[in-house]
Protein backbone atom coordinates (compact mmCIF):
# COMPACT_ATOMS: atom_id res chain seq x y z
CA UNK A 1 0.00 0.00 0.00
CA UNK A 2 1.24 3.48 -0.87
CA UNK A 3 2.35 5.77 1.89
CA UNK A 4 1.92 9.55 2.19
CA UNK A 5 5.20 10.33 0.45
CA UNK A 6 4.49 7.95 -2.40
CA UNK A 7 1.58 10.12 -3.54
CA UNK A 8 2.34 13.26 -5.51
CA UNK A 9 0.02 16.19 -4.90
CA UNK A 10 -2.81 16.27 -2.42
CA UNK A 11 -5.71 15.05 -4.50
CA UNK A 12 -6.99 18.55 -5.23
CA UNK A 13 -7.38 20.22 -1.84
CA UNK A 14 -4.47 22.55 -2.66
CA UNK A 15 -4.02 23.48 0.99
CA UNK A 16 -0.27 22.97 1.07
CA UNK A 17 0.08 24.51 -2.40
CA UNK A 18 -1.69 27.64 -1.22
CA UNK A 19 0.51 27.92 1.83
CA UNK A 20 3.52 27.75 -0.49
CA UNK A 21 1.91 30.39 -2.73
CA UNK A 22 1.39 32.63 0.29
CA UNK A 23 5.07 32.37 1.12
CA UNK A 24 5.95 33.20 -2.48
CA UNK A 25 3.74 36.33 -2.35
CA UNK A 26 5.48 37.43 0.82
CA UNK A 27 8.92 36.85 -0.68
CA UNK A 28 7.88 38.76 -3.78
CA UNK A 29 6.41 41.61 -1.74
CA UNK A 30 9.60 41.97 0.27
CA UNK A 31 11.98 41.61 -2.66
CA UNK A 32 12.78 45.33 -2.58
CA UNK A 33 13.46 45.42 1.15
CA UNK A 34 17.12 45.34 2.06
CA UNK A 35 16.84 44.64 5.80
CA UNK A 36 14.10 43.17 7.95
CA UNK A 37 14.56 44.33 11.52
CA UNK A 38 12.24 43.07 14.22
CA UNK A 39 12.09 45.09 17.41
CA UNK A 40 11.02 42.82 20.22
CA UNK A 41 11.64 42.16 23.83
CA UNK A 42 9.57 39.48 25.40
CA UNK A 43 8.60 41.98 28.09
CA UNK A 44 5.66 44.26 27.65
CA UNK A 45 5.63 47.95 28.46
CA UNK A 46 9.33 48.56 27.85
CA UNK A 47 8.79 51.01 24.99
CA UNK A 48 9.24 48.80 21.94
CA UNK A 49 6.77 50.78 19.88
CA UNK A 50 8.08 54.19 20.90
CA UNK A 51 11.61 53.08 20.21
CA UNK A 52 10.66 51.53 16.86
CA UNK A 53 8.96 54.72 15.69
CA UNK A 54 11.76 57.01 16.78
CA UNK A 55 14.53 54.76 15.53
CA UNK A 56 12.70 54.76 12.22
CA UNK A 57 12.63 58.56 12.43
CA UNK A 58 16.36 58.72 13.14
CA UNK A 59 17.05 56.40 10.21
CA UNK A 60 14.73 58.39 7.97
CA UNK A 61 16.57 61.57 8.94
CA UNK A 62 19.69 59.93 7.53
CA UNK A 63 17.93 59.61 4.20
CA UNK A 64 17.07 55.94 4.50
CA UNK A 65 13.81 54.52 3.21
CA UNK A 66 12.02 53.03 6.18
CA UNK A 67 8.65 51.45 6.92
CA UNK A 68 7.11 50.02 10.05
CA UNK A 69 4.81 47.05 10.30
CA UNK A 70 3.02 47.11 13.62
CA UNK A 71 2.90 43.37 14.25
CA UNK A 72 1.13 43.78 17.56
CA UNK A 73 -2.30 43.16 16.07
CA UNK A 74 -4.00 42.91 19.44
CA UNK A 75 -2.47 46.02 20.94
CA UNK A 76 -1.52 48.19 17.97
CA UNK A 77 -0.05 51.55 18.91
CA UNK A 78 1.86 52.72 15.84
CA UNK A 79 -1.23 54.16 14.15
CA UNK A 80 -1.81 56.58 17.03
CA UNK A 81 1.83 57.38 17.67
CA UNK A 82 2.70 57.87 14.01
CA UNK A 83 -0.43 59.92 13.37
CA UNK A 84 -1.95 57.52 10.82
CA UNK A 85 -5.04 56.50 12.78
CA UNK A 86 -7.29 57.98 10.12
CA UNK A 87 -5.21 56.72 7.21
CA UNK A 88 -7.03 55.79 4.05
CA UNK A 89 -6.06 52.54 2.37
CA UNK A 90 -5.93 53.23 -1.36
CA UNK A 91 -5.65 50.41 -3.90
CA UNK A 92 -2.73 50.69 -6.29
CA UNK A 93 -2.51 48.76 -9.52
CA UNK A 94 -2.01 45.44 -7.72
CA UNK A 95 -1.50 46.15 -4.06
CA UNK A 96 -2.51 48.57 -1.34
CA UNK A 97 -0.59 51.80 -0.97
CA UNK A 98 1.09 52.16 2.40
CA UNK A 99 0.04 55.07 4.61
CA UNK A 100 2.94 57.38 5.39
CA UNK A 101 3.87 59.75 8.16
CA UNK A 102 4.64 63.38 7.41
CA UNK A 103 8.34 62.57 7.25
CA UNK A 104 7.80 59.70 4.82
CA UNK A 105 7.86 56.59 6.99
CA UNK A 106 5.45 53.95 5.70
CA UNK A 107 3.30 52.55 8.49
CA UNK A 108 0.91 49.65 8.61
CA UNK A 109 -0.94 49.29 11.88
CA UNK A 110 -4.18 47.56 12.69
CA UNK A 111 -4.85 50.70 14.70
CA UNK A 112 -5.70 52.37 11.38
CA UNK A 113 -8.45 49.80 10.88
CA UNK A 114 -9.77 48.90 14.29
CA UNK A 115 -10.94 51.70 16.61
CA UNK A 116 -9.38 51.73 20.06
CA UNK A 117 -12.80 51.08 21.54
CA UNK A 118 -12.88 47.70 19.78
CA UNK A 119 -10.84 44.53 20.23
CA UNK A 120 -9.47 42.69 17.23
CA UNK A 121 -11.83 39.82 16.64
CA UNK A 122 -11.85 36.87 14.29
CA UNK A 123 -14.88 34.89 13.32
CA UNK A 124 -14.56 31.29 14.32
CA UNK A 125 -16.33 28.02 13.85
CA UNK A 126 -14.72 26.74 17.03
CA UNK A 127 -16.16 29.18 19.52
CA UNK A 128 -14.47 29.31 22.88
CA UNK A 129 -11.38 27.50 21.62
CA UNK A 130 -9.40 30.41 20.28
CA UNK A 131 -6.26 29.27 22.10
CA UNK A 132 -6.05 26.42 19.58
CA UNK A 133 -6.06 28.51 16.42
CA UNK A 134 -5.66 32.22 17.14
CA UNK A 135 -1.87 32.39 16.67
CA UNK A 136 -2.16 30.57 13.33
CA UNK A 137 -4.73 33.04 12.17
CA UNK A 138 -2.70 36.04 13.26
CA UNK A 139 0.29 34.79 11.30
CA UNK A 140 -1.91 34.18 8.27
CA UNK A 141 -3.01 37.79 8.64
CA UNK A 142 0.61 38.92 8.85
CA UNK A 143 1.28 37.02 5.64
CA UNK A 144 -1.69 38.66 3.97
CA UNK A 145 -0.42 42.08 4.98
CA UNK A 146 3.14 41.39 3.83
CA UNK A 147 1.90 40.06 0.52
CA UNK A 148 -0.69 42.67 -0.28
CA UNK A 149 0.81 46.05 0.67
CA UNK A 150 3.25 48.04 -1.45
CA UNK A 151 6.45 47.88 0.55
CA UNK A 152 8.43 49.00 -2.47
CA UNK A 153 12.13 49.68 -2.22
CA UNK A 154 13.15 50.02 1.39
CA UNK A 155 16.40 50.11 3.27
CA UNK A 156 14.69 48.82 6.39
CA UNK A 157 11.34 47.33 7.21
CA UNK A 158 10.94 47.39 10.97
CA UNK A 159 8.56 45.07 12.76
CA UNK A 160 7.13 46.28 16.03
CA UNK A 161 6.57 42.95 17.78
CA UNK A 162 4.06 42.07 20.47
CA UNK A 163 5.29 41.09 23.93
CA UNK A 164 6.08 37.50 24.85
CA UNK A 165 9.33 35.59 24.47
CA UNK A 166 7.50 32.78 22.68
CA UNK A 167 5.90 35.28 20.29
CA UNK A 168 9.32 36.73 19.51
CA UNK A 169 10.50 33.29 18.44
CA UNK A 170 7.34 32.67 16.44
CA UNK A 171 7.99 35.86 14.50
CA UNK A 172 11.59 34.75 13.93
CA UNK A 173 10.29 31.48 12.51
CA UNK A 174 7.75 33.23 10.33
CA UNK A 175 10.02 35.97 9.01
CA UNK A 176 12.86 33.55 8.37
CA UNK A 177 16.62 33.98 8.66
CA UNK A 178 16.59 37.30 6.78
CA UNK A 179 15.14 39.02 9.82
CA UNK A 180 17.48 40.52 12.38
CA UNK A 181 16.34 41.27 15.91
CA UNK A 182 16.78 44.17 18.27
CA UNK A 183 15.60 43.54 21.82
CA UNK A 184 14.41 46.24 24.16
CA UNK A 185 14.67 46.20 27.90
CA UNK A 186 14.45 48.64 30.75
CA UNK A 187 16.98 48.75 33.60
CA UNK A 188 15.06 46.47 35.92
CA UNK A 189 16.02 42.94 36.84
CA UNK A 190 12.52 41.73 36.04
CA UNK A 191 12.72 43.10 32.51
CA UNK A 192 16.27 41.87 31.98
CA UNK A 193 15.21 38.43 33.13
CA UNK A 194 12.41 38.25 30.59
CA UNK A 195 14.52 39.63 27.77
CA UNK A 196 17.24 37.10 28.65
CA UNK A 197 14.67 34.39 27.91
CA UNK A 198 14.08 35.91 24.49
CA UNK A 199 17.81 36.00 23.86
CA UNK A 200 18.06 32.34 24.84
CA UNK A 201 15.12 31.37 22.65
CA UNK A 202 16.40 33.30 19.64
CA UNK A 203 19.88 31.84 20.04
CA UNK A 204 18.48 28.45 19.02
CA UNK A 205 17.51 29.74 15.59
CA UNK A 206 19.32 31.22 12.60
CA UNK A 207 18.24 34.83 13.14
CA UNK A 208 20.85 37.43 13.92
CA UNK A 209 20.31 39.29 17.20
CA UNK A 210 21.88 42.69 16.61
CA UNK A 211 21.80 43.66 20.25
CA UNK A 212 19.64 45.26 22.84
CA UNK A 213 18.60 48.76 23.75
CA UNK A 214 18.17 49.81 27.34
CA UNK A 215 15.15 52.06 27.25
CA UNK A 216 13.98 54.33 30.07
CA UNK A 217 17.57 54.51 31.17
CA UNK A 218 16.92 57.46 33.42
CA UNK A 219 14.54 60.26 32.54
CA UNK A 220 15.23 63.51 30.84
CA UNK A 221 14.26 66.51 32.98
CA UNK A 222 13.65 69.40 30.64
CA UNK A 223 13.74 71.91 33.50
CA UNK A 224 17.24 70.83 34.49
CA UNK A 225 18.27 69.75 30.99
CA UNK A 226 19.72 66.68 32.63
CA UNK A 227 19.12 62.95 32.71
CA UNK A 228 18.22 61.68 36.19
CA UNK A 229 17.91 58.12 37.51
CA UNK A 230 14.59 56.39 37.03
CA UNK A 231 15.43 52.95 38.39
CA UNK A 232 17.69 52.01 41.25
CA UNK A 233 21.19 51.74 39.92
CA UNK A 234 22.95 48.43 40.27
CA UNK A 235 25.23 46.06 38.53
CA UNK A 236 23.47 44.86 35.41
CA UNK A 237 24.16 41.22 34.65
CA UNK A 238 24.02 42.06 30.93
CA UNK A 239 22.38 39.98 28.27
CA UNK A 240 25.37 38.49 26.51
CA UNK A 241 24.60 40.44 23.35
CA UNK A 242 25.83 43.89 22.29
CA UNK A 243 24.23 46.92 23.89
CA UNK A 244 23.25 49.27 21.06
CA UNK A 245 22.68 52.12 23.44
CA UNK A 246 20.68 53.53 26.29
CA UNK A 247 17.75 55.85 25.81
CA UNK A 248 16.33 58.04 28.57
CA UNK A 249 12.62 58.48 29.10
CA UNK A 250 11.26 61.85 28.06
CA UNK A 251 7.76 62.65 29.37
CA UNK A 252 7.35 65.23 26.62
CA UNK A 253 8.10 62.63 23.97
CA UNK A 254 5.54 60.30 25.55
CA UNK A 255 2.98 63.10 25.47
CA UNK A 256 3.63 63.72 21.80
CA UNK A 257 3.34 59.99 21.08
CA UNK A 258 -0.07 59.96 22.72
CA UNK A 259 -1.15 62.78 20.43
CA UNK A 260 0.46 61.34 17.31
CA UNK A 261 2.55 64.37 16.55
CA UNK A 262 6.32 64.54 16.16
CA UNK A 263 8.42 66.23 18.82
CA UNK A 264 10.14 68.95 16.83
CA UNK A 265 13.04 69.59 19.19
CA UNK A 266 13.80 65.89 19.74
CA UNK A 267 17.08 65.84 17.75
CA UNK A 268 18.64 68.42 20.04
CA UNK A 269 17.80 66.63 23.27
CA UNK A 270 19.73 63.89 25.09
CA UNK A 271 16.95 61.51 24.06
CA UNK A 272 17.29 62.46 20.41
CA UNK A 273 21.05 62.05 20.55
CA UNK A 274 20.66 58.67 22.24
CA UNK A 275 18.24 57.52 19.55
CA UNK A 276 20.61 58.73 16.87
CA UNK A 277 23.43 56.77 18.49
CA UNK A 278 21.30 53.63 18.61
CA UNK A 279 20.33 54.13 14.96
CA UNK A 280 23.99 54.30 14.00
CA UNK A 281 24.83 51.24 16.06
CA UNK A 282 21.95 49.43 14.44
CA UNK A 283 23.15 50.32 10.97
CA UNK A 284 26.69 49.30 11.84
CA UNK A 285 25.54 45.92 13.07
CA UNK A 286 23.38 45.04 10.09
CA UNK A 287 24.80 42.35 7.82
Amino acid sequence: MKGYHDIAGDGGSRVLEQVVEQRARITDGLAGVRHLVAVGSGKGGVGKSTLTLHLAGALRARGLRVAILDADFNGPSQARMAGVQGALFVPGSHKVALPRTANGIGVFSMGSLVPESEALDFESTAQGESHTWRATREFALLGEILGSFEWGTLDLLMFDLPPGAERTVQYADFLGPRASFVLVTIPSEVSLGVVARSVAALSKGPNRVLGYVENMSGYYCRDCNAVKPLFASGESPGLGIPCLGTVPFDPELARHCDRGIPLEDLPGTPVGRALDHVAQQLLDSLP
Binding site: F89, L98, A140
Partner: protein
Protein backbone atom coordinates in the same frame (compact mmCIF):
# COMPACT_ATOMS: atom_id res chain seq x y z
CA UNK B 1 -3.90 15.26 4.12
CA UNK B 2 -4.16 12.69 1.33
CA UNK B 3 -6.61 9.85 0.80
CA UNK B 4 -5.79 6.47 -0.65
CA UNK B 5 -8.24 3.98 -2.11
CA UNK B 6 -6.84 0.87 -0.44
CA UNK B 7 -8.29 -1.78 -2.84
CA UNK B 8 -6.94 0.11 -5.89
CA UNK B 9 -3.88 1.56 -4.11
CA UNK B 10 -4.72 4.79 -5.93
CA UNK B 11 -4.71 8.33 -4.58
CA UNK B 12 -8.24 9.70 -4.37
CA UNK B 13 -9.16 12.99 -6.02
CA UNK B 14 -11.18 15.82 -4.55
CA UNK B 15 -14.60 16.04 -6.19
CA UNK B 16 -16.48 18.72 -4.30
CA UNK B 17 -16.60 20.77 -1.15
CA UNK B 18 -20.06 20.96 0.26
CA UNK B 19 -21.42 24.05 1.93
CA UNK B 20 -20.41 24.00 5.58
CA UNK B 21 -23.05 23.44 8.14
CA UNK B 22 -22.59 24.44 11.76
CA UNK B 23 -18.84 24.63 11.28
CA UNK B 24 -18.52 21.29 9.50
CA UNK B 25 -17.25 20.89 5.96
CA UNK B 26 -18.13 18.03 3.63
CA UNK B 27 -15.23 17.29 1.30
CA UNK B 28 -15.95 14.52 -1.19
CA UNK B 29 -13.14 12.47 -2.70
CA UNK B 30 -13.38 9.71 -5.27
CA UNK B 31 -11.10 7.02 -6.58
CA UNK B 32 -10.23 7.62 -10.24
CA UNK B 33 -9.93 3.85 -10.81
CA UNK B 34 -12.98 2.28 -9.17
CA UNK B 35 -15.11 5.40 -8.72
CA UNK B 36 -15.61 4.77 -5.02
CA UNK B 37 -16.57 7.97 -3.22
CA UNK B 38 -16.01 8.98 0.36
CA UNK B 39 -16.63 12.17 2.27
CA UNK B 40 -14.43 13.77 4.85
CA UNK B 41 -16.59 15.53 7.40
CA UNK B 42 -14.67 17.98 9.52
CA UNK B 43 -15.53 19.05 13.02
CA UNK B 44 -15.51 22.73 13.92
CA UNK B 45 -11.93 22.62 15.16
CA UNK B 46 -10.65 21.06 11.96
CA UNK B 47 -12.60 23.58 9.89
CA UNK B 48 -11.17 26.37 11.98
CA UNK B 49 -7.63 25.10 11.58
CA UNK B 50 -7.87 25.30 7.78
CA UNK B 51 -9.69 28.62 7.99
CA UNK B 52 -6.89 30.01 10.16
CA UNK B 53 -4.35 29.27 7.46
CA UNK B 54 -6.18 31.65 5.16
CA UNK B 55 -6.55 29.07 2.41
CA UNK B 56 -9.43 27.56 0.46
CA UNK B 57 -10.07 23.88 -0.06
CA UNK B 58 -10.50 23.10 -3.70
CA UNK B 59 -9.46 24.30 -7.12
CA UNK B 60 -7.75 27.61 -7.80
CA UNK B 61 -10.02 30.62 -8.37
CA UNK B 62 -9.25 30.73 -12.09
CA UNK B 63 -11.89 28.65 -13.81
CA UNK B 64 -14.83 27.48 -11.75
CA UNK B 65 -14.38 28.73 -8.26
CA UNK B 66 -14.68 26.11 -5.60
CA UNK B 67 -16.35 26.77 -2.30
CA UNK B 68 -14.05 28.42 0.18
CA UNK B 69 -13.81 26.95 3.59
CA UNK B 70 -13.77 30.35 5.19
CA UNK B 71 -16.65 31.61 3.10
CA UNK B 72 -19.04 29.01 4.22
CA UNK B 73 -17.82 28.97 7.75
CA UNK B 74 -18.23 32.66 8.37
CA UNK B 75 -20.65 33.87 5.77
CA UNK B 76 -17.92 36.09 4.42
CA UNK B 77 -15.54 35.52 1.52
CA UNK B 78 -12.53 36.57 3.49
CA UNK B 79 -11.26 35.03 6.69
CA UNK B 80 -10.24 38.46 7.94
CA UNK B 81 -12.94 40.81 6.72
CA UNK B 82 -15.29 40.22 9.60
CA UNK B 83 -12.72 41.16 12.20
CA UNK B 84 -12.94 44.83 11.30
CA UNK B 85 -15.82 46.34 13.24
CA UNK B 86 -18.45 47.74 10.93
CA UNK B 87 -17.18 45.76 7.97
CA UNK B 88 -20.00 43.27 8.09
CA UNK B 89 -21.88 43.76 4.86
CA UNK B 90 -20.35 47.20 4.45
CA UNK B 91 -19.72 46.63 0.79
CA UNK B 92 -23.33 45.70 0.17
CA UNK B 93 -26.09 48.27 0.08
CA UNK B 94 -29.77 47.50 0.61
CA UNK B 95 -31.74 47.27 -2.63
CA UNK B 96 -33.17 50.59 -3.71
CA UNK B 97 -30.71 52.66 -1.73
CA UNK B 98 -29.07 55.19 -4.03
CA UNK B 99 -25.38 54.65 -4.71
CA UNK B 100 -23.68 57.85 -3.70
CA UNK B 101 -20.65 57.46 -5.89
CA UNK B 102 -20.27 55.21 -8.92
CA UNK B 103 -17.13 53.14 -9.43
CA UNK B 104 -15.69 52.67 -12.88
CA UNK B 105 -14.74 49.16 -13.91
CA UNK B 106 -11.05 50.01 -13.82
CA UNK B 107 -11.31 51.42 -10.29
CA UNK B 108 -13.33 48.41 -9.16
CA UNK B 109 -10.65 46.17 -10.62
CA UNK B 110 -8.02 47.94 -8.55
CA UNK B 111 -10.17 47.66 -5.46
CA UNK B 112 -10.58 43.93 -6.08
CA UNK B 113 -6.82 43.50 -5.90
CA UNK B 114 -6.59 44.47 -2.26
CA UNK B 115 -7.31 42.21 0.71
CA UNK B 116 -10.94 41.88 1.60
CA UNK B 117 -10.37 42.86 5.19
CA UNK B 118 -9.25 46.31 4.01
CA UNK B 119 -11.67 46.67 1.09
CA UNK B 120 -14.86 47.94 2.76
CA UNK B 121 -12.93 50.58 4.68
CA UNK B 122 -11.02 51.60 1.55
CA UNK B 123 -14.24 51.82 -0.47
CA UNK B 124 -15.97 54.02 2.07
CA UNK B 125 -12.96 56.27 2.54
CA UNK B 126 -12.36 56.74 -1.17
CA UNK B 127 -16.02 57.50 -1.81
CA UNK B 128 -15.86 60.20 0.86
CA UNK B 129 -12.70 61.53 -0.73
CA UNK B 130 -14.39 61.59 -4.14
CA UNK B 131 -17.49 63.30 -2.75
CA UNK B 132 -15.39 66.01 -1.13
CA UNK B 133 -13.87 66.70 -4.53
CA UNK B 134 -17.30 66.81 -6.12
CA UNK B 135 -16.69 63.70 -8.20
CA UNK B 136 -19.65 61.55 -9.19
CA UNK B 137 -17.52 58.52 -9.91
CA UNK B 138 -14.44 56.88 -8.50
CA UNK B 139 -12.07 56.28 -11.36
CA UNK B 140 -8.34 55.65 -11.53
CA UNK B 141 -7.72 59.38 -11.52
CA UNK B 142 -9.48 59.70 -8.17
CA UNK B 143 -7.53 56.74 -6.79
CA UNK B 144 -4.26 58.32 -7.87
CA UNK B 145 -5.35 61.65 -6.42
CA UNK B 146 -6.14 59.93 -3.12
CA UNK B 147 -2.70 58.37 -3.09
CA UNK B 148 -1.10 61.74 -3.69
CA UNK B 149 -3.32 63.47 -1.15
CA UNK B 150 -2.46 61.00 1.59
CA UNK B 151 1.23 61.13 0.70
CA UNK B 152 1.54 57.51 -0.41
Amino acid sequence: MKFLCVPCDSPMKLQSVGPPERGSLSVVYSCPDCGYEMAMLTNAYETQLVQSLGVRIGPAPSGVEGPRVEAAASGSKCPFSAMIPGNEGAAERPPGEPIPVRWTAAAEARLANIPEFVRPMARTGIEKFAQKRGALAVDEEILDAARDFFGM
